[in-house]
């Protein structure tokens, strides 16, 4: 009987999902391709990818990662390294070109097709995730938050001072002899320091309109493709052996490890997945924003993405999508364009853009106190955040129909 209801609900849900995807696909045809709205939409989708990545770490596995910006940085730098004139001395000044067409194919520097860069970004961020996670995830939860924050800051600072780190000679000395490793020239550095790497190659894909800064439609579709991919990963992981193990670790770590769940390995899978997804979005943003700049990689960004996850609902896939879209528009449209004059009109002497920090901070506080499960709560989270087990629903025998089957 309940299974009939549930099947109905599931069909309902599928219908909703299909409608949402259809809407997202058709949306760009109702807006001018060069309009700010479309630019903001591309940004919003890229943030959805980020937020869904962080959702695997914080929402599914319950690991508070305050340094998620690290993966944005590494993904974006992968794009900058492999798709710009930054390493202009590479290959003796001729540059390296793999599967690129158009202007990029004649420029010096390394220029590699976006899809390959995407793969490289995933590989780099996953490796970084494992390196950071392996020692860190042994710690207790709140220490994990601080150590990930520190790693995020370290990566941001290294990006800002990376012009002092010469990699050419080291690279050549250790790896240059291998046939696959390119010669970067003797003055190559890790980053361009505070200046940033710009311009960055545009995405270049067959069968699509050219990707330019005036035409956001192709960018939109690539971002949407990434969103769908990441959504798929989120949903599949949630309803799997791993998703169940993450839930168990979140609810009672001692019981979970006693039931045979390896803590560090299981957490590492969440952390590595989240890292990889953040790296994907980072590579995309590197190309879309046309710059890879140390000032992008600040703690505020980690909190911005975290606020999306929390607002939408920790662990709730659809909630996080909505949270990300909302906050992205709040940040790129509502605050600067719509409400910015508001304090002035009220006789106050500041711009709203100056207080964007506080707005995200405020969201964290308000949501946690008033509705910790977020806008669209994930099934089990609601009870969890209200401290179940200690009180309320724990009372046995009151056959309340709380249940939704797994």
């Amino acid at each position: 009987m309940s299974s009939v209801l549930e099947r109905a609900r599931r069909i309902d849900q599928r219908f909703l999902v299909a409608a949402a995807i259809l809407f997202a696909v058709l949306l760009p045809f109702f807006f001018d391709s060069g309009s700010p709205f479309m630019d903001d939409a591309v940004l919003a989708l890229a943030y959805v990818v980020m937020a869904l990545g962080l959702n695997v770490i914080v929402g599914f596995a319950g690991l508070l990662d305050l340094g998620y910006v690290a993966f944005f940085a590494i993904g974006a730098f992968t794009m900058g390294w492999l798709g710009s004139t930054f390493y202009s001395e590479s290959n003796g000044g001729d540059g390296i070109h793999i599967l690129v067409t158009g202007a990029a194919s004649n420029l010096p520097g390394i220029h590699i097709n976006f899809l390959l860069v995407l793969v490289a970004a995933v590989v780099f961020t996953t490796i970084a995730g494992v390196i950071i996670g392996l020692p860190t995830l042994r710690l207790r939860g709140d220490y994990i938050a601080i150590v990930t924050l520190a790693f995020g800051e370290i990566i941001g600072q290294v990006a800002a001072n990376g012009d002092q780190i010469k990699i050419g000679p080291i690279w050549d000395a250790t790896l240059g002899k291998l046939p696959l490793i390119p010669d970067l020239g003797s003055s190559a550095t890790l980053t361009r320091g505070k200046l940033g790497i710009s311009p960055v190659d545009k995405i270049d894909l067959p069968f699509m309109d050219p990707f330019t800064s005036l035409n956001s439609r192709p960018w939109y579709f690539v971002a949407l493709g990434l969103v769908l991919l990441v959504l798929f990963v989120n949903v599949r992981l949630r309803d799997s052996r791993l998703g169940r193990a993450w839930l168990a670790l979140r609810e009672d770590e001692v019981a979970a490890i006693s039931m045979g769940i390896p803590t560090v390995k299981t957490k590492l899978m969440a952390y590595g997945t989240g890292a990889a997804l953040g790296g994907m979005s980072g590579a995309f943003l590197g190309s879309f924003l046309n710059t890879v700049n140390a000032s992008q990689f600040e703690f505020l960004f980690s909190i911005f993405i975290l606020a999306m996850v929390i607002l939408g609902g920790l662990g709730s896939v659809w909630g996080v999508v909505i949270g990300a879209i909302l906050l992205s528009y709040v940040n790129s449209w509502l605050i600067p364009d719509v409400l910015n004059g508001l304090p002035g009109q009220l006789g106050l002497d500041f711009d709203l853009t100056q207080v964007s920090f506080a707005i995200f901070g405020f969201i964290l506080v308000i949501v946690m106190i008033l509705r910790p499960e977020g806008l669209i709560p994930e099934r089990s989270r609601k009870q969890e955040m209200h401290g179940i087990g200690a009180g309320d629903t724990a009372g046995a025998g009151t056959d309340v129909e709380l249940g939704e089957a797994g």
Partner: protein, 272 residues
């Protein structure tokens, strides 16, 4: 029910002594919770650990299952030294447990709880979970059914299968915990006060059920128990701890007469 749900074929012959503690000691700061305890569990037996509150029984279990690292001494699982092994490795080696103060996952259903118990016997990793190839689908479905079977075996009413574990009665929660432990196909089952909070009738039923588990699942059971009636009724051997030390060991009837044991329990009226 036929001889329990399909058991994963044990490749190696069952070792002589499934689990053995040698000189096991645990100190918490100045307090010695378990002091130099030797104990072995023989294949197919039900052994009980008794002792007054705070004697160190649960701490002993926590060391056997890898939750606490012993201050000194060793633990062997068959031929293997598992003193420094992690809890998940110990579970994978066929040791499962329940907790004194029930520790089910509160927001999960009874069935999901038992599926967690099966985790160590499943293979789906990150790519399997994302791409969900046929073998992963099969694995998931089998575990789903297996969980229901385990819950039926422990006597949970079928309509409670997909209830959140916190909505179950106390006795049912204890059953789900046992089912969760059994789901990992253990060769050794550690039960920490399984009758705590039960009335005499329920305790009696549970004692019978423990015997049945041993018969049908062919495993060895180590149990911590305060209820002397249960202890005397089902255990082959009894070990008594007091202030962390092993003060007596042997045949239940003999242990009950041991003056040291009587002294340890003096004033507690636990010798039923």
């Amino acid at each position: 029910m036929s001889a329990g749900p399909e058991k994963a074929a044990a490749p190696k012959p069952a070792p002589e002594v499934p689990i053995r503690a040698e000189g096991l000691t645990k100190k918490f700061g100045g307090l010695t919770a378990v002091s130099d305890v030797d104990l072995e569990l023989r294949a197919g037996e039900i052994a009980a650990i008794i002792g007054p509150n705070g004697a160190g029984k649960t701490t002993f279990f926590n060391m056997l299952t890898g939750l606490y690292r012993p201050t000194s001494g060793r633990i062997r699982r068959g031929q293997r030294d598992i003193t420094r092994a992690r809890p998940d490795q110990i579970t994978a080696l066929g040791v499962a447990r329940t907790f004194q103060n029930i520790r089910l996952f509160p927001t999960m259903t009874a069935r999901q709880n038992v599926m967690i118990g099966r985790h160590s016997r499943m293979r789906a990793g990150i790519f399997g979970s994302i791409f969900r190839p046929p073998w992963v689908r099969n694995e998931e479905r089998e575990v789903w059914e297996r969980a229901a079977e385990e819950l039926r075996f422990v006597g949970l009413k079928p309509e409670l299968l997909d209830r959140p574990s916190t909505a179950l009665s106390y006795g049912d929660q204890r059953r789900v915990e046992i089912a969760r432990a059994l789901a990992s196909d253990p060769e050794i089952l550690l039960l920490d006060e399984p009758t705590a909070g039960m009335d005499p009738r329920e305790s009696g039923e549970l004692a019978d059920f423990v015997l049945r588990i041993r018969e049908e699942r062919k495993l060895s059971i180590l149990l911590i128990e305060h209820d002397m009636k249960v202890v005397m009724g089902i255990s082959d051997r009894v070990t008594v701890l007091d202030h962390g030390e092993l003060i007596a060991e042997g045949d239940p009837a003999a242990v009950r007469e041991d003056p040291k044991v009587i002294e340890a329990y003096l004033g507690r009226g636990a010798t039923a």
